[in-house]
């Protein structure tokens, strides 16, 4: 049976067909749909873990216990998960272990453009790279075979255009491999220095064996065409290369990309006049090919930054003139992403933005999630965004440095609910332990919103849709030692309450927590509940002061001389109603 599938759906299908029984992940674009699709197979236990490190440790344990296991993460998630990965590399596995990293060249939804292929040689584990959905499915099966044959975890590397492109996949049946027996083996599974010293040479030997395999495995293949040009490529870049060169070149298509197939590369290079390396981001293949003493053309023409496409390759390597198109003497206004109409984060950023205009010492450290968009005008309510959790921890460092520099900066750190569970708790503990009088604003919108509404430890539901205990952020905050008088739990839709909390926080001299609780406006049940709730402008009372527009709500605009609220976008959150000094906005449909 044939089906059109995204790469992520196909990875899930591949795991199913290969007899995977345990899977874990933390959501992150472009990897999220892998676990969402795996969860639909009742034969596989699947969970959202609080972060990628936990997800990876869960599947490390499962693999040692004997299950074919899989974890999935976006590229930056692998930084979080790196710790267990580098040591499971020594221990090896029992049941097969596949670690999926979905990289994001072009940074469609990421804070950096790191190339995770470099993790494979760093951690000394095997790596495979599919280039379309069919390969996504097939390579998962190969990955399990490689994992179990060579006793290694396998890094399964995709990119946005592999994960989120759809193409036709031939489906197969599931092969039940069951869960292997577990036999206690401390020398293999306890990495004390004494055991690790024995293991490290074994890892090096394993790499040699893997290299032998790489030279003979079906994932690496040569497609002979014209031999004037020989192209070495992998992943989505293979598709672009084929698109541009067709039969006018020969290809070494690499699917098993660590260790790289040295003998195959040498043989291929000898048979062609010129070697091109076509790869996105870092010169991973190129650097290796050069260590083999082979002259090749790569990054001097192919850009390191941003994602590739056939057009870029054509211009870079064939020196083709740009294709003719059309031009208009009009500049398209920019359209950056923004907080949605009715977003419960908006009132909090509005309030802090207002405060920062009055008090110049307010500093706002942001984090990864929808609330990163608090940085956008007109709110401009952010100073830094680094990574998951840094909204709190970087606030501590900012506060300490300010003090050392005799500045009285007041730091407000922002995280979301899912991010708090991911890596905000440790920062909170640091703030209490090291007495940092920062304000930690936890924007609890009852979901993992940016990645498309995944459940998390605070939502009361598991990935499989089963009921789960609701882990209380407030209880954690109290347990860590934030004093009762330094905790405010507010409904962000109530601006007075939110502003009062922010004012109290500003004046506090101890670690302070504000939890803003209101579910994401895009959640289906919220949309249903608020379907008839609207704010409307009374044009007779409106003085066109545009105070409501300073909230940055996209439902409010100034057209034909009047401020109007787009009723199809408005969910009646009431922020504009609360900022209007002339009672010109009314709330309807309560």
């Amino acid at each position: 049976m044939k089906k059109i599938m995204s790469g992520n759906e196909a990875i899930a299908r591949g795991a199913y067909e290969a007899g995977c029984t345990v899977a874990a992940a933390y959501p992150g674009t472009p990897s999220t749909e892998i676990l969402e699709n795996i969860a639909a197979y009742k034969e596989i236990y699947a969970e959202w873990a609080p972060n990628e490190k936990v997800a990876t440790e869960v599947v490390c344990g499962a693999a040692i216990a004997g299950a074919r296991s899989l974890c999935a993460m976006k590229h930056v998630g692998m930084n979080v998960a790196a710790d267990p990965i580098f040591t499971i590399a020594y221990e090896g596995i029992n049941g097969g272990l596949v670690i999926v990293t979905a990289d994001d060249p072009g940074m469609h939804s990421s804070q950096n453009e790191q190339d995770n292929r470099l993790y494979a040689p760093h951690a000394k584990i095997a790596m495979v790279e599919p280039s379309d959905s069919q390969e996504c499915k097939d390579f998962v099966k190969y990955a399990y075979e490689i994992s179990e044959k060579f006793d290694t975890a396998v890094l399964f590397r995709t990119t946005t255009r592999v994960s989120h492109s759809k193409s036709i996949v031939e489906l197969g049946e599931r092969v039940e491999v069951g869960v292997k027996p577990y036999v206690k083996n401390p020398k293999k599974y306890i990495m004390t220095p004494a055991n690790s010293k024995v293991k490290h040479p074994e890892v090096e030997e394993r790499l040699e064996k893997l290299q032998g395999y790489s030279n003979n495995c079906p994932l690496n293949r040569i497609e002979w065409g014209d031999k004037k040009i020989g192209i070495i490529t992998s992943g989505i870049s293979y598709q672009y290369a084929k698109e541009v060169f067709g039969d006018n070149a020969s290809y070494l298509k690499i699917g098993f990309s660590y260790p790289l197939p040295d003998k195959m590369i040498i043989k291929f290079a000898k048979a062609v006049d010129k070697v091109y390396i076509i790869e996105e981001n870092d010169p991973y293949i190129e650097n290796y090919v050069k260590t083999l003493g082979i002259q090749c053309i790569g990054k001097e023409f192919i850009p390191t930054c941003d994602e590739l496409n056939p057009d870029i390759i054509r211009k870079a390597l064939l020196k083709e003139e740009p294709k003719k198109s059309y031009e208009l003497d009009v500049k398209a206004p920019s359209r950056p992403p923004m907080l949605c109409p009715g977003c419960p984060h908006r009132p909090v950023f509005y309030a802090i933005s207002k405060l920062s205009k009055l008090k110049k010492n307010v500093i706002i450290t942001g984090d990864i999630g929808c609330y990163t968009l608090g940085d956008e005008p007109p709110l401009n309510a952010m100073d830094t965004v680094i990574c998951m959790g840094a909204g709190i921890s970087a606030a501590i460092g900012f506060e300490k440095a300010a003090k050392m520099g005799n500045r009285d900066d007041k730091i407000f750190g922002f995280v979301g609910d899912s991010t708090f569970f991911h890596s905000g708790i440790t920062g909170l503990i640091d703030a209490v332990y090291n007495n940092s009088p920062i304000v930690m604003c936890i924007l609890d919108n009852r979901t993992t919103a940016m990645t498309g509404h995944q459940d998390n430890p605070g939502t009361g539901r598991t990935l499989k849709g089963e009921p789960a205990p609701i882990i209380s952020i407030e209880s954690i905050v109290r347990a860590v030692g934030i004093k009762d008088e330094n905790i405010r739990i507010v409904d962000p839709y109530k601006l007075d309450e939110t502003e009062a909390a922010i004012k109290d926080a500003y004046n506090a001299n101890e670690p302070f927590v504000i939890i803003a609780k209101q579910p994401c406006a895009l959640l289906k049940e919220v949309q249903k509940r608020r379907a008839n709730m609207k704010c409307k402008i009374d044009l007779e009372k409106c003085k066109e002061c545009k105070a409501c527009m300073r909230t940055g709500c996209p439902a409010i605009s100034f057209k034909e001389g009047h401020v109007i609220i787009d009723q199809s976008m408005c969910n009646g959150c009431g922020l504009c109603y609360q900022v209007c000094k002339f009672n010109a906005i009314e709330k309807v449909g309560e």
């Binding site: 193409s167 036709i168 672009y240 056939p310 359209r335 923004m338």
Partner: protein, 192 residues
């Protein structure tokens, strides 16, 4: 011969569903197809694109500058933004519809005037339609994506295929007849 179609618009306009219906149809009619979409941050009211390529054998899911046979723009300024992807002689199907971005809302930038006229002057094969109005006339503005799809299907010369069954398989039953009507209305926009 591989055909390349670029869908452009604003997050929330139903672009992904429209390109999904097209993709499913093309597979049903025997083509090799690749479709690429973007999720995450890009969907929060930002400019979004999906790309569909079909033919006997398709390699790249992505379209480069001057390579799109058709651009389907769900919003006017998005047509302007991505116009450089249209190949010479290609068709532009554009929704005569405005969505203000935040910089426009707060007055930092201006929404340009007479865009449709300028596009028509520049691109000979431009089809401008009021998909939102047509969909509203059919009872639900949300069907504007399928009106756009209908107009695209006509531009591709694929209007005689069995799209009704493709819609049946890809939208909830209660929206089936609305979407069939929307598709027909979209195909019909070329007769006006």
């Amino acid at each position: 011969m591989v055909k390349s179609i670029l869908f452009v618009g604003v997050g929330g306009q139903g672009i992904i569903l429209a390109s999904k219906i097209l993709t499913q149809g093309l597979i049903k009619f025997g083509y090799d197809v690749k479709m690429s979409e973007v999720h995450g941050m890009a969907q929060r009211g930002g400019s979004v694109t999906t790309q569909v390529r079909y033919g006997e054998k398709v390699y790249s899911p992505l379209i480069g500058d001057g390579e799109a046979d058709v651009i389907v723009a769900f919003e006017k300024i998005e047509a302007v933004r991505y116009l450089k992807y249209l190949k010479e002689g290609g068709s532009l199907v554009v929704n005569d519809y405005e969505i203000y971005s935040l910089p426009i809302l707060i007055g930092a930038e201006q929404y340009p005037e007479n865009i449709i006229e300028k596009l028509q002057e520049s691109v000979p094969k431009t089809k401008a339609l009021k998909a939102a109005e047509i969909a509203e006339g059919l009872g639900n503005i949300k069907a504007q994506n399928v009106v756009m799809l209908g107009s695209l299907i006509k531009a591709l010369g694929l209007e005689n295929m069995d799209w009704d069954s493709v819609i049946k398989e890809n939208v909830p039953e209660k929206f089936y007849s609305l979407n069939v009507k929307a598709l027909k209305a979209g195909i019909g926009t070329w007769d006006i």
